[in-house]
């Protein structure tokens, strides 16, 4: 009996499922046709007739737009009977329970959406994969660096992400269908939630980041995950892995990144919750809600609040940002918020209520939202919880985690790769005190900057004096000359350069201090500040033993690896390959010297550079500069690997450590081994300095200054002080041909000469502008080597 009953239920469920698919075959056909044109047919066409534009796994904007549109259309079609009184009469009087009725239609919609997508995109992936495999066999073709299986897998992973996003959007759309009485309301709700929620999240993030000094910002990961709860579409635009938005990057997915997994996790959870919620609501849904504007008022209330708050905050922040005066800024914020939020609230109300019906009652909700936000705004502004002024005591702190971009610039070795922020734990009492002193200095400086009790957030303004506070020429004239800049008496580059205070660093740095308190709670603050203003506090930090040893990767070397050292005396084009024994002794000597070096020592011009290289890392590099990432199991661009991951290999592939004049241990060792002086130029050294690279003369790295100088504007530098300054510049030489600047070559008294240095424009020394650039005579060149 039971089985017959169950069989009958299944029979009706199946019939309803197939009937729904059959009813929507036309739309499914159009959808499939569009997918066919966008995916495999396009790929085949490009492959056969336009292989130059052939792209690998091209899931792009158009390719996503179609499934997104149908992802919304299918639920609207499948469940539209809920918005029609007559159709509801039919469906709800049928001999089928609500649960199977809902599920049969839900599954039918999913089938219509995903079967064509998965089949067609899979076919496209296979076509792409096969074509790609073909290209991989062509020597020199860029794709030869990739592993076929990895790329094929990546293609399917991208597809999987899209499938989960669509699934979530589908589930959310169905949920909205269950919670609305009319299709117009459903569409308005869907748009308002998807757009309004994203806007609100962005606005709140910006609001809190801007209002609170020291607020480290809500992690973009968290924001992204919270955003996609109500706006799964946003997942396609946010970053996945270490890359830009899914659409922005044309679909690169780092499948092993936690982001990808957690994205999928959030999408699955939201989809499941939306499905469960939809089913629950559908089972309780009153048939009489069909076609009614005022069904499910809570959903409309939610939409109104989301829209009015997001619009209000965005407009308010826009209006207030132009004011530096607190009173004006707050007035603008309040007026902007009230006006924009009210108008947007009214518009949404008129749409959802088809007029001004129940407006009076609805305004209570608006008032409540405004009051709540006002409490937050003024609460944050007056810092009622003391967030901005709080600085912990050293004895309450277990350890401090410090992340900063260049906060220890002077002690950092020059790295051959993109500078990655360090994340170091400080546990020593002295270290804690030094960082807390910096924190206190930052808080005190903020207080000085306030013109009222209301803390006006200026997240875009650094703490401390600005560069221009020390510089007389304003922002228009930087101390570097502009290209082809006419020279005026009052603003000539030399004068500007000279006006810059000596030994002043103008770096505007960020620092994130995460206190791990003894009570187990973390406390994080992030600041953007000017180095010069806080030079005293920074000096204390720089002199810390713990800072020196933990900040510098030299002290974190994995000596079990094969490390080779190259010693460069760049100003003379000298290089020396150290053997294993010398490398070890060099590392020890440098560690000793760095440990005792003061900031003044590190401000000297370096006399040599030691490049330490991990052979193991080098072995993993392929000829195009990609290295095999064991963890990610694929070749990756070297620059895309975060420093934190590189750390797992002991040292980065290559790091350059300067040797400063005060490094007695290192210099003694080098001089002993190489029988050369590393402290100064040989007497009589001269430098040929030539002005900006002249277009047409450039011929890659093979440019021969000795032969081509006649076509350039050059001058000769022989003053030891100027040479010393040039040495500092040439140490930091860069081989970027796009860099506008100058180049130089040293000529030694013994007739030898250095390599050619191409120098950055912003490394130009002040005396550069007083040089007499001209076409040199051959006789002048001949004096160079004498």
């Amino acid at each position: 009996m039971m089985s017959q009953k169950s069989s009958s239920k299944n029979h009706i469920f199946r019939n309803m499922y197939w009937h729904t698919i059959k009813r929507n075959l036309g739309m499914t056909g159009i959808y499939s046709l569009l997918l066919l044109v966008i995916y495999p047919l396009k790929s085949l066409y490009l492959l056969l007739f336009d292989s130059g534009n052939f792209a690998i796994f091209p899931i792009d904007v158009i390719g996503l737009l179609v499934p997104i549109v149908f992802c919304v259309l299918f639920p609207l079609m499948v469940f539209r009977y809920l918005h029609s009184k007559t159709a509801t009469d039919l469906y709800h009087s049928l001999p089928i329970q609500r649960t199977p009725l809902f599920l049969s239609k839900y599954l039918a919609g999913i089938t219509m959406l995903f079967v064509p997508f998965i089949v067609i995109v899979s076919a496209d992936t296979v076509i792409n994969g096969l074509a790609y495999r073909h290209y991989m066999q062509i020597p020199g073709y860029s794709s030869a660096n990739y592993a076929f299986a990895d790329e094929l897998l990546a293609g399917f992973q991208r597809m999987a992400l899209v499938v989960f996003v669509l699934l979530c959007l589908y589930a959310l759309t169905v949920f909205i269908m269950m919670n609305t009485g009319t299709t117009l309301d459903a569409v308005v709700t869907l748009v308002a939630v998807n757009v309004g929620w994203v806007l609100l999240m962005a606005a709140l993030q910006s609001f809190f980041n801007g209002m609170l000094y020291g607020f480290p910002g809500i992690s973009s990961d968290i924001i992204t995950h919270v955003t996609i709860i109500f706006s799964p579409l946003a997942a396609l635009f946010y970053s996945v892995g270490y890359y830009g938005g899914y659409l922005g990057y044309y679909g690169y997915v780092d499948s092993y990144s936690s982001n990808y997994i957690s994205f999928i996790g959030v999408l699955v959870v939201v989809s499941a919750l939306a499905l469960a919620g939809s089913l629950l609501i559908y089972r309780k849904r009153k048939s009489e809600y069909a076609g009614r504007v005022f069904s499910y008022p809570y959903m409309k209330a939610l939409i109104k609040v989301i829209v009015c708050l997001s619009v209000g905050i965005v407009v308010a922040m826009g209006l207030s940002s132009s004011h530096s005066n607190t009173k004006d800024a707050v007035s603008s914020f309040v007026i902007g918020f009230l006006a924009a939020s009210f108008v947007s609230y009214l518009i949404v109300h008129i749409i959802l209520s088809r007029g001004f019906k129940k407006l009076g009652k609805s305004l209570i909700l608006y008032g409540s939202a405004v009051v709540c936000f006002a409490l937050v705004y003024f609460g944050v502004g007056f810092d009622v919880i003391g967030y901005q002024a709080r600085v912990p005591k050293a004895e309450d702190v277990a350890y401090i985690e410090v992340t900063g971009s260049s906060y220890g610039y002077l002690a950092e070795p020059m790295q051959s790769m993109t500078q990655q922020p360090f994340n170091i734990k400080y546990t020593e009492q002295d270290s804690k005190k030094a960082f807390i002193a910096l924190h206190q200095g930052l808080v005190d400086e903020i207080k000085k900057d306030q013109d009222s009790a209301f803390v006006l957030g200026r997240s875009n303004k650094q703490i401390g004096k600005d560069y221009y506070d020390y510089y007389d020429y304003g922002s228009y004239y930087t101390y570097e000359p502009a290209y082809n800049e006419p020279v005026y008496e009052e603003t000539n580059p030399q004068k500007r350069y000279d006006s810059v205070p000596v030994n002043t660093e103008y770096y505007n740095n960020t620092i994130t201090l995460t206190y791990h308190l003894n009570n187990g709670l973390p406390m994080t603050r992030k600041y953007w500040y000017n180095n010069y203003t806080f030079q005293d506090q920074l000096k204390n930090i720089y002199d810390l033993e713990e800072y020196k040893t933990k900040q510098n990767p030299l002290f974190a070397l994995d000596l079990s690896q094969d490390i080779t050292a190259m010693v460069y005396d760049d100003y003379s084009d000298y290089s020396y390959a150290a053997d294993e024994e010398l490398t070890k002794r060099l590392i020890e000597a440098m560690q000793k010297d760095y440990r005792v070096a003061s900031q003044a020592d590190l401000n000297q011009n370096p006399v040599a550079a030691v490049i330490l290289r991990s052979d193991e890392m080098e072995a993993r590099m392929n000829p195009d500069g990609y290295y095999y990432h064991y963890k990610n199991k694929k070749y990756q661009n070297y620059y895309d690997v975060p420093y934190s991951q590189m750390g797992t290999y002991g040292i980065p592939y290559e790091n350059c450590y300067f040797v400063y004049p005060g490094f007695d241990n290192t210099i003694a060792l080098l001089e002993l081994e190489t029988q050369r002086s590393f402290r100064e130029f040989p007497e009589g050294t001269k430098a040929l300095v030539c002005n900006y690279l002249t277009l047409g003369l450039w011929d890659g790295y093979d440019y021969n200054l000795a032969d081509d100088y006649k076509e350039l504007q050059c001058d000769i530098v022989s003053d030891p002080a100027q040479l010393d300054r040039l040495r500092y510049v040439s140490m930091k030489y860069d081989r970027d041909e796009m860099t506008s600047g100058f180049f130089l070559q040293y000529y030694y008294p013994d007739g030898t000469r250095s390599q050619l240095f191409y120098c950055w424009g912003n490394d130009m020394p002040a005396f550069y502008y007083s040089l007499n650039f001209r076409t040199l005579d051959e006789s002048e060149i001949q004096t160079l080597g004498q």
Binding site: M16, A87, T88, D89, S93, P95, Q97, R283, E288
Partner: protein
Amino acid sequence: MICAINLQKRFDKFSALDNVNVEIPSGCVYGLVGTNGSGKSTFLRLLAGVYYPNEGLITLDGESIYDNAKIKTGIFFLPDTPFYFHQGTVRKMADFYKLIYQNFDVEIYRKMLTIFPIDPKAPIASMSKGMQRQAALILAFACRPRLLLLDEAFDGLDPFIRKSLKSLISESVAEYGMTVMIASHNLRELEDLCDHVGLIHQGHFLLNSDIDDLKGNIQSVQIVLDKPAEDVAAAAGLELLHVNQMQGSMQNWIIRGDRDEVLERLNAFSPKYLEAVAPTLEEIFIWTTEVPEYDVSKIIL
């Protein structure tokens, strides 16, 4: 047996049905009469399992109807505005119902197509209102329900089709034991078809009874007597409901009671003329539901 116990249905603050308690026997043709907005359609939707009552219970053969697929297999609800699929034809709709209603009878479907002259391949949306209703009736009967709920079933039907429909309903009741509930605001339409009738007004059932019982209990007599009606009725122990002065001294008395007994008691007063005439359903409605707050003559047509 349909049974409503303390049934309430509200739409926001509006109470469409209020504390309804009725029992309707199976196998009858039940006419549900009431003005627009009286609660007829709501009652039908509750019976069809479309609506869920706010309070109370409505059952068919002792089982709750809402979300009960088993019981709903035997119920077909034909609303006043039936829904058809986009580009739907009678054949396509029949295919749909065939999938859902296990009792769908193809033979009946074909027979119905001979009774109602409808092209099964023509889009229903392009048909006239009357034809659309015929299309709906074809499908309704083909599903062979135990309980057929018809809301304003005769709307838009020409006299010939109305007659056919009435015959069809009678046949179905006789042949399959089908229960038919027809909601209408037109009492005269139902008079010759229903054997049970209910009068609903402002969410309340004013009347729910077998028509024969009703007719047997209300007598309309034409009488010529030179004594006041009230005195005669009191003396005869009869409940006089209404007196209507006719031509001359002829009066029409509406009296509650058994026909023979009424005639016997009145004959004792030696009237000059006495004849019992069959009361119309309308008269019965008016005189049986007369309560102070209702003017029944205004709520039935």
